[in-house]
Symmetry: C2
Subunit: 204 residues, 2 copies
DNA sequence: CGACAAAACTAACGATTGTTAGTTAAAACT
DNA sequence: AGTTTTAACTAACAATCGTTAGTTTTGTCG
């Protein structure tokens, strides 16, 4: 019995180690991708940042494409799940939009590099991954659009063109990662309140 | 006299032709850069889109870098000039912000591909061009920031964190190029009014 | 028509790309 | 202790990169 348990523990450690090494590569690569873009970063660049040779990377990953795919699909799922949670709630459109703003900020704080790749390098995905991510993006936007339209129909949102509202908010949220660094000491909850205020009530 | 005039006319045609061919290359390249990014587009890609061989491009341009530089510096100057015009005006902060929104839309309509390069590929500029564009960007943001701060100090803008206001508006304006295609039949003036409304008065 | 220049071409360069094969040192398991 | 596995390495591959040199085609002027 002890032997059996030991086996499981070691198996988990094994999985964890292997997983950790791959995660290191993904993490290091994501930083480089954010700075220069996927195409401008070579496997040798990634290897150098990991203090190894390019060929050694292939002991842990199948190729450059897998790094990008891992990076992007991961955060795309994060957004999709968060949006589905909000959609399932029984609350007003305005309340839902507030929730969207808030989870965008939360996800940005922990997935800044992933978001950079999602925003700027999604077109370099291939095959199924590309289709999947594009589909998730379209569904996401369609959900957001439906919330806005409902808000307008209920008279709770000012009757501007839904597309203008959608992309005004979404553009701001999607590029939040760019100046999150400068956020510095600004507390996340204060940022949430400020952004909800600015995006919903405007600035005048 | 007729000969002299003829000479000038032909000179202009000559300049125009040479310039036009270079401009064609820059225009075609900008479209490719917008779709895949500077680093993912090869000189052979550009040549193919122009129905020529890569080597022939060098009869008109000095290299790939010049294309990027031409593209980015051109629109950066456009924004800088527009901002300086607004700064020189004697009008309220709110009025200035409206003007900024409007010229962003105007410039986006005619320089969509240039803006894509400015947003996504500025870091691939080299030497003087890189420094120059970064400087212009910093100055631009500083001007915008001062307008916002003044508006808050005068009590005309709600006292949110200036940085949040600045980047909320600027993110929307900078990524406008992404969905300008979808704008379709929407009139530019209607778009201006909608965006001013959404960005200044919010959506509730 | 002949002269000349503009703008295309072919061919090739050295460098870099992502990736594979085969090897070796260290670590882990039996 | 002996065996196997992990994860690094060196070396090299075919392909592609931006760019240059030299040549040929095209078109325009006198």
């Amino acid at each position: 019995m002890y032997d059996g348990l030991s086996g499981w523990v070691l198996f988990f450690i094994f999985v964890l180690m292997k997983s950790t090494r791959k995660e290191e590569i993904v993490a290091v690569a994501s930083g480089l991708f954010k700075e220069k873009g996927y195409s401008a970063v070579s496997m040798r660049d990634i290897a150098q940042a990991m203090n190894m040779k390019a060929a050694s990377l292939y002991n842990h990953i199948s190729g450059k494409q897998e790094i990008l795919s891992t990076l992007i699909v991961r955060v795309a799922i994060e957004f999709t799940n968060a949006m589905e949670t909000v959609m399932a709630e029984e609350s007003s459109p305005i309340n839902k939009i507030e929730k969207i703003i808030e989870f965008h900020i939360d996800i940005t704080v922990t997935y800044a590099e992933n978001i950079a790749a999602l925003n700027n390098d999604w077109m370099h995905l291939e095959g199924t991954d590309l289709k999947r991510v594009v589909k998730m993006r379209e569904d996401y936007e369609e959900n957001f659009r439906s919330i806005i339209k409902q808000g307008i129909n209920e008279g709770r949102l000012r009757p501007n063109h839904p597309e203008v509202i959608l992309f005004s908010i979404l553009s701001t949220l999607r590029t939040l990662y760019l100046w999150n660094e400068k956020r510095g000491k600004m507390d996340v909850n204060i940022l949430k309140k400020d952004m909800v205020s600015v995006l919903l009530k405007g600035i005048v």
